[in-house]
Every structure is written in structure tokens, then in C-alpha cells.
């Protein structure tokens, strides 16, 4: 049931003609802008921000503004909008203000393909940025590859996204498969006297959750910690009670939950509480990283001790993060703990695109792709990124935990900024 973003043929053709005329007329302005950018860039990089003033450059994006991924999609939209405002205050792309053309894919893998085909072949956008999730990015990659567009994504690090090894594909977030490994290593390194002895692995059959949970399970099982429950459930399940009851019946001391969203983890937590079951350790692949969306759904007093892996959190010591945090609070209000990692991922994808355009002084997708593969290190909100031959970047992965209503980094133990972990997890209702 996705919404269709197509317009009538007449309007599409009209806009296409207008765009060609606009591009032709602005070529002189573009050349002038390039000269200005080249001579002015040295001074404008850190202090004198020159606002963008030329004709706008449209970047096409398909986002999940409705459907299963809507909460993430809307946070992604915020990230892209904030990045566009940030970049426009610094001259846009080669002097051209950025205009985002965001269309909704309703979290539908078929619609996302249609959207990128429309954006590229009908609307003729010069540049595109990626959607949310491996599930939607993987089919969209084919479109971008067919048309030779650089395709930079913020949240598509599942193995499926790199399986085709498209040369034009880049993900600014660390591949997800190893994101639970700091947690797995921590648990296996605990002294035997306190180390949990049993683990449950319920996971959604999603290309994001399954690889992560399976990688962690392999490490934990190898250390001799017994698996008492390990099942995959369809992502379209709406009643998690029997699955959660089965996990509770296993009496596992640790629960590693492969969840993609807040409703999944909140249903499990509620069922656990109803079953009077509180594991010593609980970590989820997604959901607890959604800031206030998570805490308001489950209740702050239930958040204590819940963990989630991620490569970024709003309080990380990074100048770009501080800038994004300030811009976010000014525009959307709230507190920084409410800023979703999705927002940072989208902003980072924008950082990578802007760096490539500035580095090549061009909006040619071929040049952007070559630049991103050149081994250059690009600063982003999530930290520096440098892409390998298939568009992956590598960096630190952290584990975060909710403690007394705050979201803090706890693993790796020795990493800068890691706080002491709360272990074991407090009982339900006592973690606020």
C-alpha cells in the first residue's frame, strides 16, 4: 500500500524541459562558481562561511516516510535536511544551494526501485543519496548502477548490500555484521564466577539483524556459553507474545534480540515483564538506539540496563557531531539523547557526497565514484570514513546502554568515553 510519487506526463515533460534550459543557462554561472570556489576555498573552509547562491542542485532521495521503517525514515529525513542546511551555509555544492527531492517509498522494496528510476530518468536529478536499510538499498543499488550514479548510503551495512560489489556503492556506516562483537567479547571475557551460562537468540529474519546475531552467537557459543533458545521469526509478525514467552520459559540469563524497530523490542520487554522474567543481560540490534522513541514506548523505568550496538551516539566527541547536535536542537528541540543515530547516518552520507564534489570540483558521478575509491579519508559526523574497493568503511563499533534515563557508551571497556556498565540488568521498573 505505498504512496505513488509520480506526477502526470505533462508536468514531468514540462519540468524536464525547464531543467534542461536552466542547466544550459547556468553553465556560465557554474564555471564562474567553480573559479570562485577554487580561489575562495582556502579561506572559507573553517571561518568565513559563504552561503550558496547559484541555481539549486537537486539531490534525489527515496525515504521510508510511511510503513514499517517510518520512524527511521523520518529521522533520516531530518538528517538529510540538517545536512543540506549545514552545507548550504557553507556554499552548497560548488556554490549551488542544495535542494532535496525526497520521495516516499513506504518501506517497500518495489517502490524504492520505482522512486530512483523516476528521480534519475524522469526528473533527471544530477545526484542521489541512499534510502534507509539494507532491505531497501539493495534493490535500489541496481538502478543507481545501471545509470552510473554514485550511491552513498547511511544505513545499509548488511552483507546483502555488498554482495553484488557494485563499484558505485558506498556506505558511510561500519558493516553491521561485526557490531555485536564487542558485546560478545565482553561477555566471554567475564570471570567464570559471574559469567552468564545460558543465552537466547530470538531474531527477526532481516538482512540487518540475522548476520549480527549469528556472528555474536558463534563467538559466544565457542566460549562454551550454552544456547537455550535460537529461533528466527518473520519480520511481519505482529504478535510477539508466544515467541517472548518461549524465551522466558528457557530462563536464559542473556537475551540477544535481533530487532529492527522499537515495537519489536517493546513487545518482548512487556511480555518478559508479564512472565516475571528479567534476564541478567539484554541487548537488541536496534530499537534502544531510537532515543525518546524507545524510552517513551517502554517507559523510562524499564530502560535500565538495555544495550544496543552502534557506531555513534549524540554525545560523541566529534566537532561535526557537536555542530549537528546544535542544529538539531535549534530546529527540532528536545535534548541530545533524543537524537537518533539515523539522523547522524544520513548527515554523514551527505558529508561524504559534499567532500567528493568539493574534491573533484565536479558533479560528475563518474568522478565522484573515482574520488571516493581513491583512498581519501573524509570527515563525517560518525567519524572519518575511507572506503575499500566495495564501498565499505571500517571503524570502531561501540555498545551503548541505558542508565538512569541516559544513553551512555559502555563498550569497548577500554575505549575513550566508556562508562561503567550496569551488570546485571536491573529488574523491570527499577532502571529509571
Amino acid at each position: 500500500m505505498g504512496r505513488n510519487s509520480k506526477r502526470t506526463d505533462v508536468v514531468r515533460r514540462g519540468r524536464s524541459k525547464m531543467r534542461r534550459r536552466a542547466y544550459g543557462a547556468s553553465s556560465v554561472a557554474l564555471a564562474g562558481g567553480l573559479v570562485l570556489a577554487a580561489t575562495g576555498s582556502a579561506g572559507a573552509s573553517s571561518t568565513g562561511h559563504k552561503a550558496a547562491s547559484g541555481s539549486p542542485v537537486t539531490i534525489g532521495i527515496s525515504l521510508s516516510l510511511s510503513g514499517d521503517f517510518s520512524a527511521d525514515g523520518l529521522n533520516f529525513q531530518r538528517g538529510y535536511n540538517l545536512w543540506a542546511a549545514y552545507q548550504n551555509a557553507r556554499g552548497g555544492l560548488l556554490g549551488h544551494p542544495i535542494k532535496l527531492d525526497i520521495v516516499s517509498d513506504a518501506s517497500n522494496p518495489t517502490q524504492v526501485v520505482t522512486n530512483y528510476e523516476d528521480l534519475i530518468s524522469l526528473k533527471h536529478v544530477p545526484l542521489i543519496l541512499g534510502p534507509f536499510s539494507t532491505l531497501l538499498t539493495t534493490p535500489a543499488q541496481k538502478v543507481a548502477h545501471r545509470f552510473g550514479y554514485a550511491f552513498i548510503a547511511g544505513a545499509a551495512g548488511g552483507p546483502a548490500a555488498f554482495a553484488a560489489k557494485y563499484h558505485n556503492y558506498f556506505d558511510v556506516s561500519v558493516p553491521i555484521v561485526g557490531q555485536l562483537l564487542p558485546f560478545a567479547k565482553w561477555i566471554t571475557a567475564l570471570p567464570k564466577s559471574v559469567r552468564p551460562t545460558t543465552v537466547a537468540y530470538p531474531t527477526s529474519n532481516d538482512p540487518f539483524t540475522q548476520p549480527m546475531v549469528q556472528a555474536a552467537q558463534a563467538v559466544i557459543q565457542k566460549a562454551g556459553i550454552r544456547t537455550v533458545y535460537s529461533k528466527v521469526f518473520p519480520s511481519e509478525v505482529t504478535d510477539f507474545t508466544p515467541i517472548a514467552d518461549a524465551v522466558a520459559a528457557s530462563n536464559a540469563q542473556v537475551v540477544v534480540l535481533g530487532s529492527v524497530d522499537v515495537p519489536t523490542i517493546s513487545a518482548f520487554m512487556q511480555a518478559f515483564e508479564q512472565a516475571h522474567y528479567s534476564p541478567k543481560v539484554m541487548i537488541a540490534t536496534a530499537g534502544p538506539d531510537q532515543g525518546s522513541a524507545f524510552s517513551s514506548a517502554v517507559g523510562v523505568s524499564n530502560t535500565g540496563g538495555i544495550m544496543v550496538p552502534n557506531v555513534w551516539f549524540p554525545g560523541v566527541n566529534n566537532a561535526l557531531t557537536h555542530t549537528m547536535d546544535r542544529m538539531y536542537l535549534a530546529k527540532y528541540g528536545g535534548s541530545i539523547s533524543q537524537i537518533s543515530s539515523d539522523t547522524a547516518e544520513a548527515f554523514s552520507a551527505g558529508n561524504a557526497l559534499a567532500a567528493a564534489v568539493a574534491g573533484t570540483k565536479s558533479m560528475s558521478n563518474a568522478k565522484i565514484i573515482s574520488y571516493l575509491h581513491s583512498g581519501v579519508t573524509i570527515p563525517t559526523v560518525q567519524g572519518p570514513v575511507k572506503f575499500n574497493s566495495i564501498g565499505q568503511t571500517f571503524g570502531g563499533t561501540f555498545v551503548f546502554q541505558w542508565q538512569h534515563g541516559k544513553f551512555v557508551q559502555v563498550l569497548p571497556v577500554a575505549a575513550k568515553g566508556s562508562a561503567k556498565m550496569i551488570f546485571p540488568k536491573p529488574n523491570w521498573g527499577q532502571g529509571g
Binding site: 500500500m1 504512496r3 510511511s66 510503513g67 514499517d68 517510518s70 520512524a71 523520518l74 529521522n75 529474519n205 529461533k231 528466527v232 521469526f233 518473520p234 511481519e236 509478525v237 505482529t238 504478535d239 507474545t241 508466544p242 515467541i243 514467552d245 518461549a246 520459559a249 522499537v262 515495537p263 517493546s266 513487545a267 512487556q270 511480555a271 515483564e273 508479564q274 512472565a275 516475571h276 531510537q290 525518546s292 522513541a293 524507545f294 517513551s296 514506548a297 517502554v298 517507559g299 523491570w428 521498573g429
Partner: protein, 289 residues
């Protein structure tokens, strides 16, 4: 397995309540209301607003949300469905009610934003220990509420003059009209009643699941399956099918694998429909034209 059966019965009753309104609407009006799912979510949001802004208990709040959704249902029928021509009613009702779905979903997104919400009450997280199982209070209360409301619906249908009019209209609209039944008024009130049931379903759904405006899409597909299995137009069928569906899913999820729970249900659905195309309790004879 016992847990699966009990969970299935308790949650199936709530789904049956939501589906009963849908099947009643189809039985009287030949309208497939794709908006039923979003009305459930609207009911959840209304309960949320009453709970957080006025401190009204979820069940007490139904005294407000049920009449509110009845009025909204009457308004939707008057504004959108009354104008549908009888020849194209079923097909056009799908499009029209889908449009209503989209409109309400958009309004909810604007008013409440994109955060997930969940209804909170002491009985939402506590349970009673019975026969070796922990039975959540919210599911017990929800099941009792569903049975109570379905009982009231049965009473209206079979013990009141209005109910006789509804049954007459379900059997044959033209003939009912000829004997003096105001079919248009019956349709309006029926749509209102069918929508009003979503207030209760929405409250229970919101107390047992985190929800946002987009949660309706998963719901409507389940409700449609329940009314097809139960028999279009049969309230008893909706109850039986709702309980059956959830028991099958929950037992298979516990005993075998969650991966197979939905698959097995649809296999059973196909087998049942192969032998009884009208569903478990659907009427054998075709509606008179």
C-alpha cells in the same frame, strides 16, 4: 503448548472484536472497509490522549472513545460511502475507504508525530499465575471486554427491532427496503457501530504493542483474513476465526517455529476455503440481487 493455546484464545478474542465490526459492515453494506485498521489505531491514540492528558484509566476512557468513534464512523459513511453507486459498491468501497485510511493516517502523523507510543496501566505489565502459566491481566481483561461487547452486539442484532432491520438488510437490501426498513439509516448506524468496536480493539492493541500511525497496515491484512475465514457477514464466524487464527499461530510459534506460524495458518485457510468457500460460518446462498 498450553501457553500458546491460552495466548491464542486471549489475543484472538481481541482481534475478533476488531474484525466483527468489519464483517458487520460488509454484511449490511457490501463495503470492504480498509479504513478499519486505521480506526483501531485512532482508538489507541484517543485512549493515549485521555490517559496522558486527563489521567483517565484505559477502560474508563472507552466510555468516551466508543461514542467518539461511533460518531466518526457515521460521519465517514455520510461523507464518503453514501454516495457510492450500488453497482460498483464493493470495488469503489475499497478505494474510498483506502482514501479515508490515508487521510486519517496523515492527520495522525501530523498531530502525534512519528514517535512510537504505548498505553500504560498497572494491568498492562502484570500477570496472574494460574495453572502453571502467567496470564497477563491486559489480555484477560481484553478478552472479557471482547466477549462482553460481542455479546452486546449479538443482543442488538437478535433482540432489538433495529437488529431485525440490520439482519433484513443483510439478507436482501431491496426486499428490506420494500417492507419499510430505512436501509440508508441502517447502513449509517451499522457503519458507526462497526467503527465503534475499534475503540475497544485499539485500546487493547495500544496497551500490548507500541504503535504509530503506520501500524494500521499490518492490522488490516489480518482483519481481512479473519473475516474471510469466518465468513463475510458472520459475527460468530469472526470470533471463531479470530481465536482459531491466533491459536494456530501461537501454538506453531511455540511448538515448532515462528517462521512457520503464519505459513501454516494460510495453508489451513486455503484448505478450509477449498471445502467451504463461504468461510466457516458464511451463508451458503448468494445474496439476492
Amino acid at each position: 503448548m498450553g501457553t500458546g493455546v491460552v495466548d491464542g484464545i486471549l489475543t484472538g478474542g481481541v482481534y475478533a472484536l476488531m474484525a466483527a465490526g468489519l464483517t458487520l459492515i460488509f454484511g449490511v453494506m457490501e463495503v470492504i472497509s480498509l479504513a478499519q485498521g486505521i480506526f483501531v489505531i485512532l482508538g489507541a491514540y484517543l485512549s493515549y490522549s485521555l490517559e496522558t492528558h486527563f489521567g483517565i484509566d484505559l477502560f474508563v476512557g472507552l466510555l468516551i472513545t466508543i461514542p467518539a468513534l461511533f460518531i466518526i464512523g457515521v460521519g465517514v459513511e455520510w461523507a464518503f460511502l453514501r454516495r457510492l453507486k450500488s453497482q460498483e459498491r464493493i470495488a469503489m468501497s475499497i478505494l474510498t475507504t483506502y482514501a479515508v485510511f490515508i487521510i486519517i493516517e496523515g492527520i495522525l502523523n501530523v498531530v502525534y508525530g512519528t514517535n512510537y507510543f504505548q498505553l500504560h496501566a498497572w494491568y498492562a505489565t502484570r500477570s496472574v499465575h494460574l495453572l502453571g502459566m502467567y496470564l497477563p491481566y491486559i489480555y484477560l481483561f481484553g478478552f472479557l471486554l471482547a466477549v462482553g461487547l460481542l455479546g452486546i452486539m449479538f443482543g442488538i442484532l437478535y433482540r432489538t427491532r433495529f437488529g431485525a432491520s440490520v439482519r433484513a438488510a443483510m439478507q436482501d437490501r431491496t426486499a428490506a427496503s420494500l417492507v419499510g426498513v430505512d436501509v440508508r439509516r441502517v447502513a449509517t448506524i451499522t457503519f458507526g457501530l462497526g467503527t465503534a468496536t475499534t475503540a475497544a480493539g485499539g485500546m487493547i492493541y495500544g496497551a500490548t504493542n507500541s504503535f504509530d500511525a503506520n501500524s494500521a497496515e499490518d492490522l488490516i491484512s489480518r482483519l481481512l483474513v479473519i473475516i474471510v475465514l469466518g465468513g463475510l457477514g458472520s459475527i460468530g464466524g469472526a470470533l471463531a476465526a479470530g481465536v482459531f487464527m491466533l491459536v494456530v499461530e501461537d501454538v506453531i510459534a511455540v511448538v515448532w517455529s515462528p517462521d512457520w506460524s503464519t505459513v501454516m495458518f494460510f495453508i489451513i485457510l486455503v484448505v478450509v476455503l477449498s471445502f467451504r468457500p463461504m468461510g466457516l460460518f458464511g451463508r451458503q446462498a448468494a445474496r439476492a440481487q
